[in-house]
Symmetry: C2
Subunit: 251 residues, 2 copies
Amino acid sequence: VTTAPSHQAADQDQASYAFRPIGILRSCYTDKFGIPRQPGLVTAAEARLELYPAYAREEAFRDLEGFSHVWLIFVFHDCLGEGWRPTVRPPRLGGRRKVGVFASRSPYRPNPIGISAVELVGLVRDARGLALGLRGVDLLDGTPVLDVKPYVPYADAIPEAAAGFAPQPPGREWAVEITADARRQIAAADPDGALRLEPLIAQILRQDPRPGYMDRYPERTAFGMRLYHLEVQWRVTAQGVQVTAVTPVDG
Amino acid sequence: VTTAPSHQAADQDQASYAFRPIGILRSCYTDKFGIPRQPGLVTAAEARLELYPAYAREEAFRDLEGFSHVWLIFVFHDCLGEGWRPTVRPPRLGGRRKVGVFASRSPYRPNPIGISAVELVGLVRDARGLALGLRGVDLLDGTPVLDVKPYVPYADAIPEAAAGFAPQPPGREWAVEITADARRQIAAADPDGALRLEPLIAQILRQDPRPGYMDRYPERTAFGMRLYHLEVQWRVTAQGVQVTAVTPVDG
């Protein structure tokens, strides 16, 4: 038994609960641009939840591998200190409409806690300690994780739920072409293919990672995003998306 | 913009995040016994999330009513200070098997945060302030709520997920009989029927709220549970469950 969360104040309205992360998420998304808007869209995005020593105990995860999916409860750590706004402009609506922050999954919330259902690959024990292998993750590298829970379909899956202004996944699927130059750069950056960069880049770009408001700037066709230690450059063409360069950020 | 959560320590492993509730849940479950093991099972259980003044702003919930369900992110406040255990004995397994705490939805977790998908009835503005009307809630009266999020089926609903040791809702459905004496007591306790006590009691008892380990004590047939300010007494019979008395706790 380790430190329990502290309950700091007597007055309910003033109560404050302190939580410490159980681990840190390591993902390919080293920058916000490119992160899919929902989990599960980019299955090539593998990630690891690296557990801190107090929680790196196999017994605390016993029988978890019988579940195909888990919930990650995490902190939107890159939004801390920015405060919250009562209304936000969801990217799905192209930034054209304001909705209440509690009607959105925006990170700019009173308590910047996120939940994400992701695929569980399995427990991994190696020289770096104990980790959960995950797939389809939509979280920034370095995200602090507060909790892991099994995904229980009969309680968590409500496929018939009505979903207001976000009833469908983004409909558009772009054709993605990777130029010969970019392929050579990918081979140089990841000689043994461990990062699976081609399917990863294709899956990310296929679902159009540009902010919704880009519809208003049709003249802009060249974009860049960061993945791992790499800068991926791409442009919008009449046929879809063309990846033009994949270069190390520090080179 | 009000107080942002504080990020108290520099060292990642030691980082602590402080969150303040946005409101408090008011439900019929004034005691743990009787609370269904998952949300959605007892639809007669209506509840209110009463928002604290800083969050009692209609604009912060604009367009939320287009969603049929919401996530409540809450604190297991009655477990604070009890610490966590690496393994737990889920009630579903009758307390006969230990699983890892992260393979369970047990409240005795390193960070006692819960998530629950519940039906949204609508926003309510009255003399007590702004509240969310909810249905199918499985939370204790007085639960501090940290966040409300829309339930987005294409991201949150994974009906095909494999669910380890808890693949199905509890199968048994008991026949529930309310005696004439108990009916008279219900009418006296709730003359205008606002609490909908009969369907509420019937739904709760139908799914057998006894802890799983009760299978081992077949000789015990009389039970009590608290709902609102009432003590509900019932017993197990050959035909199912019989409600024998419904009396005020302070009477």
